[in-house]
């Protein structure tokens, strides 16, 4: 793309304005960084092992082996002891679960299977979903060894563990999508209203500048700002907080650029609709707020009430954040996130049409 000198000059002026506005830079980085840091610290606590008590009434090798495996597992903090005190500890809330291995545990497997008694507190029952698969797996691997069966499913099991992502890994792409939306809408929508209020647009309009020069400069300047800010965030996340980005960076940045253009167009429409500072504030909130909560930034859309999910999935920010997350967390290629790309493309077409309809240079300027 060839830029004329005017477009280059205006782009550099917009960049200078942003660079000299320390407060904006601070706030656009401050919140994502705070969120990331808080949640990555909170995450450490989330990973604390679950307390379980094991009352082993059996003394054979299979039972000891089983207990040893539980103790080795990072998921559990295992305490062995008598059944009665462990049950008391469970009631007191010091244990999440008590396992009682029967005296005949693992004996005569050919004739009957052993039964493990799992004692849980109803209040802790939500933990069951996390604990039971690990128990099952441990039992399964013991059984395999015992029966001398080759562990056919080892690979499958390891795959499950590789995907056990931390909340912070889930959060990062969403936060970045949120940051790019805010920077883009502020850059086009809020700035246009501000420039109009000050009479700057009118002053520019007196000169032979064409709307395309002005829009090109804003888009290029904002794009640069978004890319630099997100790169700073990625750097902080990877270096300081040890967040892993699995996917391809080119694919990731492709979605970032695509999303930025979409939200810049949306911003131009809003800035042309709103005549005053107050209106753009209100309009901005109407557009931004629901997306913050419904676009799967802080928690997955699947965890929302059933009836709101179809709506939430159609929000522009949902497409951007989902696309970015699938690349960052699951290593998806661009060809695998076609639904997200298609969603962004449709929203881009809608907001581009709206922007070209609404952004009448003469009216926007005066």
């Amino acid at each position: 793309m060839m830029l004329n000198p005017l477009q280059r000059h205006l782009t550099s002026v917009f960049l200078k304005i942003f660079l000299r506005d320390r407060r904006s830079i601070f706030f656009s980085l401050f919140f994502p960084v705070i969120f990331m840091t808080v949640f990555s610290l909170a995450n450490v606590r989330e990973q604390e092992p679950i307390n379980i008590g094991v009352a082993n009434l059996s003394s054979n090798q299979v039972a000891l082996d089983f207990v040893q495996r539980l103790s080795d597992s990072p998921v559990f903090n295992t305490v062995t002891g008598e059944s009665a005190p462990l049950r008391e500890a469970l009631i007191a809330g010091d244990q999440t679960m008590v396992l009682e291995l029967p005296a005949d545990f693992g004996q005569s497997p050919e004739t009957r299977s052993s039964e493990i008694n799992v004692v849980v507190d109803a209040a802790q029952v939500s933990q069951l979903g996390l604990i039971m698969p690990v128990l099952d797996q441990t039992l399964l691997s013991i059984e395999r060894e015992f029966r001398g069966i080759a562990p056919l499913f080892t690979i499958a099991i390891e795959d499950v563990q590789a995907r056990s992502q931390r909340y912070i890994d889930f959060l990062l792409p969403g936060l970045m999508a949120l940051t790019l939306m805010n920077l883009s809408i502020a850059g086009s929508g809020f700035n246009i209203v501000e420039y109009r209020r000050k009479g700057i647009l009118k002053r520019l309009f007196v000169t032979p500048i064409e709307p395309k020069d002005f829009i090109t400069a804003i888009v290029l300047a904002r794009m640069t700002i978004v890319l630099v800010q997100l790169t700073v965030l990625i750097f902080l996340a990877v270096v300081l907080l040890d967040i892993r980005i699995v996917g391809n960076f080119f694919a990731y940045y492709f979605v970032v650029i695509f999303g930025t253009v979409l939200f810049l167009c949306l911003g131009f429409s809003l800035g042309s609709l709103a005549k005053t500072q107050e209106t753009i504030g209100a309009l901005g909130n109407v557009v931004i707020m629901p997306q913050i909560f419904l676009s799967g930034i802080f928690y997955p859309i699947e965890s929302m009430p059933e009836w709101i999910q179809p709506l939430a999935q159609l929000l522009p920010l949902s497409f951007v954040s989902t696309g970015m997350r699938e690349i960052a967390n699951a290593g998806a290629a661009l060809s695998e996130i076609l639904p997200s790309l298609l969603g962004i493309a449709v929203w881009l077409a809608i907001s581009f049409l709206a922007a070209t309809r609404l952004f009448l240079w003469k009216e926007v300027a005066s």
Binding site: P5, L6, L10, V206
Partner: protein, 254 residues
């Protein structure tokens, strides 16, 4: 041939109270301004001065009539006209955090010119403010800087909208000298003002507007002779303010 020809210019706006009704903000204004003239447009608030200027400058759509600058129609060739004029607007705020020198370079770029900001700043006695931000300027300095911005394309016609409103007497005189100097260099200047002394001092010819129409036009002396009340009516002697008030009445506007 006059450098500015305006013929039967019209602008309609919806009434504030009843959007379905329209009123003429500018109703058939015709002007003919010669190269090298300083031309003043006077009138009470809401008379249509600024709207008239904005239509001539290509800032506002022309609803009826025609305006030509240097023989070019504003309606059909607005970009050609914009290349040839310099405009100082009433509002004179600029981008935050950009220095005067950088702003002038930007305005130069808008006309596809590379300019030396220091030369322009020297013209308006702001050469030591190249690195200052507009927010740090005084009222008079801001107006002078606005004029510097309007000069980047070496315009044939300079439009000034109420250039001395709110300035102290020193800053006002200083600005008059600046305008006079530009005019001495051959530049045509069109200005609006509420200051009768300014109109008398600076302008070769004056048009007085009210209710969207020109109600009187001529040199300050001719207007005084024609419209100022005879000495018995005015205790001191007739001046341009008497002309203005006797034509537009004493009723307060806005």
């Amino acid at each position: 041939m006059p450098i500015i020809e305006v013929c039967d210019l019209q602008k309609k706006y919806p009434l504030p109270d009843d959007k379905s009704q329209k009123f003429f903000a500018v109703n058939g204004v015709s002007l003919s301004i010669e190269q090298g003239e300083v031309f003043g447009i006077l009138g009470p608030n809401g008379a249509g001065k600024t709207t008239t200027l904005e239509m001539i400058e290509g800032l506002n759509d022309i609803d009826g009539g025609e305006a030509r600058i240097d023989g070019i129609s504003v309606r059909t060739d607005p970009y050609q006209v914009k290349e040839r004029i310099g405009v100082q607007l009433q509002a004179n705020e600029y981008f935050d955090n950009v220095s005067l020198g950088e702003l002038l370079s930007l305005f130069g770029a808008l006309y596809h010119r590379t300019i030396d900001p220091l030369v322009l700043l020297a013209k308006v006695q702001l050469e030591d403010k190249a690195k200052a931000k507009p927010a740090a300027l005084s009222g008079g300095q801001k107006q002078r800087f606005s004029i510097a911005c309007a000069l980047v394309n070496e315009p044939k016609v300079l439009f000034l909208d109420e250039p001395t409103t709110g300035l102290d007497p020193q800053a006002k005189r200083n600005l008059w000298d600046l305008v006079q100097g530009l005019n001495d260099g051959g530049m045509t200047i069109v200005l609006t003002t509420h200051n009768m002394e300014e109109a008398e001092e600076l302008c070769d010819r004056i048009a007085i507007m009210d209710h969207g129409k020109i109600i009187a036009e001529g040199t300050p002396q001719a207007l005084i002779l024609e419209f100022a009340p005879e000495p018995p009516d005015a205790p001191l002697h007739g001046n341009l303010e008497d002309v203005f008030l006797s034509l537009t009445g004493h009723g307060l506007r806005e």
